[in-house]
Amino acid sequence: MMHCTMEELLALRANEGSVWGRQHLADCPVCRAEMEALYQRVAQLKALPPIGPARDRWPVIRERVVGARARGRRMWAARGLAAAALIAGVAVFRPFSGTSAYAEDLERAKQQSASLETELQEYDPDSRVVSGRAASLAADLEERIAAVDGWLAQLSGAPAAPDPQLVKLWQDRVNLMQQLVDVHVTSASYVAL
């Protein structure tokens, strides 16, 4: 005697079985027992106790959320600083161009900072899984960059010829941005292994 296959039993369970299958199930105690076992198995699956994570992932997620916001604010601040620097450059720096020993260094640092911002944005760190240590490092660097931006914003409000302090701040920003990019890239490389 031919019995129902598992496919047939599953179809019958979903009210999609064939006429033959329905009739056979009604007549065959073996297949009825098999169907009953299927229902029991599913009931047991549904009754399995929920498993919770061994580690708390919220601190990492929180740092990512806070970091993303800081990055968003920093992007706007960087654009504001760039615009302010452009205006100041037109109004003040131009007469000094070629005469200031710092003008070239300043321009280079600004360009490096902008390209690192672009690199980080293209890398899209918010969509990637990172370890708690990497997230903590990134958050620390974000804070330090925000502090540098604060100083730069203050200086950009008082146009002056490029001086060592301004150049140093932009170079610090580049250095911190580079570390931030390294943290994200290294972390991604590690996760990808």
Binding site: M6, A37, L45, K46, L48, I51, G52, P53, V66
Partner: protein, 179 residues
Amino acid sequence: MTISLAVPDILIARAKSGDVEALEELYRAFETPVYNLARRILRHPEDAEDVLQETFLEVVRSIRAYRGEGHLWGWIRRIASSKALMRIRRDQVRSEEAFDEGAVEGTPPIGVPAHIDLERAMARLSETSRAVVWLHDVEGYTHEEIAEMMGKTVSFSKSQLARAHTRLRRYLEGEGIAR
């Protein structure tokens, strides 16, 4: 697993506005259901933890797009399921296994209490089979929905389910308990 999590609308509104405390409350409310779903599908706890993290990062990014149609758990569960299935696909691409027949069955994991026969049997299934069984029979997704999430056909989902139940039955008989 039956979820009856009632989340107050005010909490969702606060989360949508970016309130970090509200986001944490949502995380606390759903971390176990999300992790459980991922863990039932994926073989390694670390992968399930990554899915948990990826899911909530997605929730944070997209919560504003949640329009309140249906239970919030349904929305989050869909994200978690997709993330878990993406991970299976990615791992299979890396190991050059096919999505379907890749079905390399595992051995019973060390550390699972011996009396949990069904869990042991589930652990021996491939991740793809586990995913289909769990999503269909426990979470209540249709074959059409599972096929869409997996990027496969409805008949693929149906045949995976049948194969998985055949194996579960065999494993449980082998464990010496009633099927």
